[in-house]
Amino acid sequence: MFDLIIRSLTQRKMRTGLTVFGIALGIFAVVVMGGMSEHLSTTYDKSIKLLAADIMVQPDGSGTLDESKIRQIKRVPGVKDAYGALYTPLDPEQSGGGFGLSDLVCGILPEKQIKDLKLTSGRYLVPGDEYKAVVGSSIAQKFNLKVGDELEIKSKRMKSSSSISHTRNVTVVGIQEYSGTMFDSFVSMPLDAAQRFYKMENTVSFIYAEPAPGTDSSLLAKRIDLSVEKVKSRSPAQLRKDVEGEIVFISLITISAAILAAIIGGLSVMNTMLMSVSERTKEFGLLKALGAERKNILFMTMGEAALMGIIGGISGIVAGGIITYLLNKSFEAQGSALFAITPRLVVIGLLFAISLGVICGTYPAYRATKMSPMEALRYE
């Protein structure tokens, strides 16, 4: 029977082509949009895992934190240790733009480096390093850096004109391996050197609080908020929840736009199939007169719809794969990928395409089985 399905589809090349294109377009949208949110969520997921069990303390509102807060936080019962980190955009001219993760200079205490991030070459920062840096893999690729190379960092004074008032080279001492996290876009350097260069002495962006063993980090986060003024603390669980909420929200917007496109593709299958069924009144009547069972006719019509779904789905996924690959390539040159085509996404896309075909083929197929053989008998 399969050859008959193929025959029927190739017979109406133009129409089949347009329908398949409709589905492909919908699935393409699903893949590209989905790829974007998949990338976001995997990146954040991995990043959060690397942050271990520390509570993240940030200013309540915008701005920075004074280092005196570190001492206050250290005094909160249950806090084993607390340390600050300073984040500034690597290129002040380009801060906070676009979808991807922006490149950041991260001032940290050498002893608090995340050692889970392996190095491909060089070494970690050690106490006493001044203008030395460990760079993420994206940064290394973007600026074509090797250990021993110099990387220019810029600072822009708030009050002066837009011109960059100060630049300085730091020496790359280590390069991290690709982790698929936001740390790939980090330039890590000693906190004190960063503070000095950016003229932000005694200032940090975030404070990380390590809970003492046996301390519930959620409760501790609340305790920090109560004990220290004008800060907002988030336990790892809370952080994860917040990020997930954001990702779900972004995903919801992108995916629903994509699904809308796919449903339009599905409707075009339905329209095509209805047209094709009513055009073939005689054919289905004839097949019935020849002794075709309901299931034979259902198989033929549903098969047609499902096949269009499969072809459209595969083309959509392939097209989406190619486009996102090319986009990723061009973004990678700037240091960060934008899409992740996960196996899960491919399966979802394909299943979605097939079920779209089948669901939208059901009613036309049902109509086909209802064709009276008498029609075939009499009418031209």
């Binding site: 029977m1 008959l4 025959r7 029927s8 017979q11 005689k282 054919e283 004839l286 097949l287 019935k288 007169a289 020849l290 002794g291 075709a292 069972e293 309901r294 034979n296 009276s372 053989p373 008498m374 075939a376 008998l377 009499r378 031209e380």
Partner: protein
């Protein structure tokens, strides 16, 4: 247009087993009734029709439009259900069959030939014959073999790869006849088989049907064309849902043949 003058028994009840001797009837129809509602007015498309058809018989059903010929043939072909009465094919009461059994009965017992051939335009002659056997679970090799054999029999052995659009009307109808015979049906039902072809082709088709009948194939032809009907063994004339006349020429076969030869 005058009907044939033989206005025999009207509204005959009971059996028409008028043939002396002969084989078992392949088809038995008993008091078949079909009533449609046209708005609120009941229309008796069939009003108590009974007759038997023996194996190998070539029977034509004639009558004006609306006389019930088509209704009758769709009952025999299990395409429609009667209001009352029974149709037996090979002693099986097909009118009692469940809806789910209808496809199997259609493909095993009935072969259809239509006025407009109804070949699938995308398929070759071979595939058009083949498609009738697809629903029976026959292997592909057997199907191909049988399709080729049948097409050769109807004189199209050299046209098996042709699409319907590449065949003449007569050739298309012969493909349709081959298709109808594919599953060795008990009865070949031909609904105006010559209605869409010229007179020359008509003769080819009638000859083909006659040849099949001689080989033992039971054939029922519904037709408007008295020239076709006159060449069959037996003519049933329908009028207002009843059998107006049932003329068997086969009783005096020799005489009939003589007459036929004279006409030529």
């Amino acid at each position: 247009m005058s009907n044939n003058g033989n206005n025999g028994k009207k509204g005959n009840n009971g059996n028409n087993e008028s043939h002396a001797g002969g084989s078992e009837p392949v088809l038995r129809i008993r008091d078949l009734k079909k009533t449609y509602m046209q708005g609120r007015i009941p229309v008796h498309a069939l009003d108590g029709v009974s007759f038997d058809v023996r194996k190998g018989e070539l029977l034509s059903i004639v009558g004006p439009s609306g006389s019930g010929k088509s209704t009758l043939i769709s009952m025999i072909g299990l395409l429609d259900r009667p209001t009352d009465g029974s149709v037996f094919i090979d002693d099986v009461e097909i009118t009692k069959a469940k809806e789910s059994e209808a496809p199997r009965i259609r493909r095993e017992k009935i072969g259809f030939v239509f006025q407009h051939f109804n070949l699938l335009s995308t398929l070759t002659a071979m595939e058009n014959v083949d498609i009738a056997m697809r629903f029976t679970g026959t292997s592909k090799n057997k199907r191909n073999e049988r399709a080729f054999e049948l097409l050769t029999m109807v004189g199209l052995g050299d046209r098996v790869k042709h699409k319907p659009s590449e065949l003449s009307g007569g050739q298309q109808q012969r493909v349709a006849i081959a298709r109808a015979l594919a599953n060795e049906p008990a009865i070949l039902l031909a609904d105006e088989p010559t209605g869409a072809v010229d007179t020359k082709t008509r003769e080819v088709i009638v000859e083909l049907l006659k040849g099949l009948s001689e080989k033992g194939q039971t054939i029922i032809v519904v037709t408007h064309d008295m020239d076709v009907a006159r060449q069959t063994d037996r003519i049933i004339t329908m009028r207002d849902g009843r059998i107006a006349s049932d003329t068997v020429k086969g009783i005096e076969e020799n005489e009939y043949e003589k007459r036929y030869d004279l006409q030529n």
